[in-house]
């Protein structure tokens, strides 16, 4: 396995989707290749950063929008 192939397998490796034989080859490459290990850590960190970007308390919907949405429902039911 070379670094390019190692990079291709990152997503399956982190999902636990690599077949055992391939996982052994992948991990064997990581043991011998510090750049790929560093790359794996930064890929993992990228996912953690995405998780942190997700955490955001939602603001309440503005009253005018609530009114517009409920009014649209009223119109719809009258048409029905």
């Amino acid at each position: 396995m070379n670094c390019r192939e190692c990079t291709d397998f990152l997503i399956d490796y982190l999902n636990g989707d690599l077949p055992p034989a391939q996982q052994r080859i992948f991990e064997g490459h990581l043991e011998l290749c510090p750049p790929c290990l560093t790359y794996l850590e930064s890929y993992r960190a990228t996912l953690k950063l995405c998780e942190s970007a997700r955490e955001e308390p939602p603001e309440p919907l503005p009253d005018a929008m609530i009114a517009a949405i409920l009014a649209a429902r009223g119109v719809k039911s009258k048409v029905d």
Binding site: I11, Y43, C50, I69
Partner: protein, 203 residues
């Protein structure tokens, strides 16, 4: 125990919606609308478009409430609907000029070795200690620089938390194509974050 009470009260709530109970509709919009607006804003980057997407999502949900089967939580069901409404809006919008994904992917020599040796990033503890609001803004800005197709798949999977199958269905591609696109999007995002996250440099 709590869970079954919760499920029972949700079933009662859905029954009120199906019966056309106006108070239940108002409660639904108030309790779920803010979260749905946040989703639409993240995907669309425009407050006006996001507000339209939420309105369209609620109208679709009101029409479909009779077919809501209760297998999923109501909030999950609404999340899917607003994601779908936002994606439909995204498709109709003119695309901005964008950088080619190839420029953002790691480069390799012919023998498969890295061209640029990857730099070490800050440790997980250092990353966790970054001011969260500042980091969130930085990550969002870099996600916004991804080419549109890649940005969308990354948003759906890694920000909105949909699984590969749902993402593939929404994008009209096979699960394998969605997975490959997601992987490339993550590699590209890693490249964009790299100058900001290196261990020895500061923001």
């Amino acid at each position: 125990m709590e869970r079954s009470d919760g499920a029972a009260s949700e079933a009662d709530f859905v029954a009120r919606l199906r019966a056309g109970d106006e108070a239940a509709y108002a409660e639904l919009v108030r309790s779920q609308g803010g979260r749905m607006l946040a989703v639409a804003r993240r995907l669309l980057r425009s407050d006006d478009d996001a507000a339209d997407a939420v309105q369209e999502a609620f109208i679709s949900a009101f029409r479909a409430i009779r077919s809501f089967e209760g297998g999923a939580r109501l909030s999950t069901w609404l999340h899917r609907i607003v994601v779908n409404a936002a994606l439909m809006k995204l498709r109709t919008r003119a695309r901005r000029p964008e950088v080619s994904i190839d420029e953002l992917l790691p480069k390799f020599h012919e023998d498969g070795q890295h061209v640029d040796e990857p730099a070490e990033w800050r440790s997980p503890a250092q990353l966790a200690a970054l001011e969260s609001q500042e980091t969130r803004i930085l990550v969002r800005e870099q996600i916004d620089r991804l080419p549109a197709d890649y940005r969308t798949v990354l948003m759906l999977r890694d920000i909105e938390g949909l699984d590969t199958k749902e993402t593939a269905e929404l994008l009209g591609v096979t699960p394998n194509a969605a997975k490959i696109r997601l992987h490339r999007a993550r590699l590209a995002l890693r490249t964009l974050l790299d100058p900001h996250m290196r261990a020895r440099e500061t923001l």
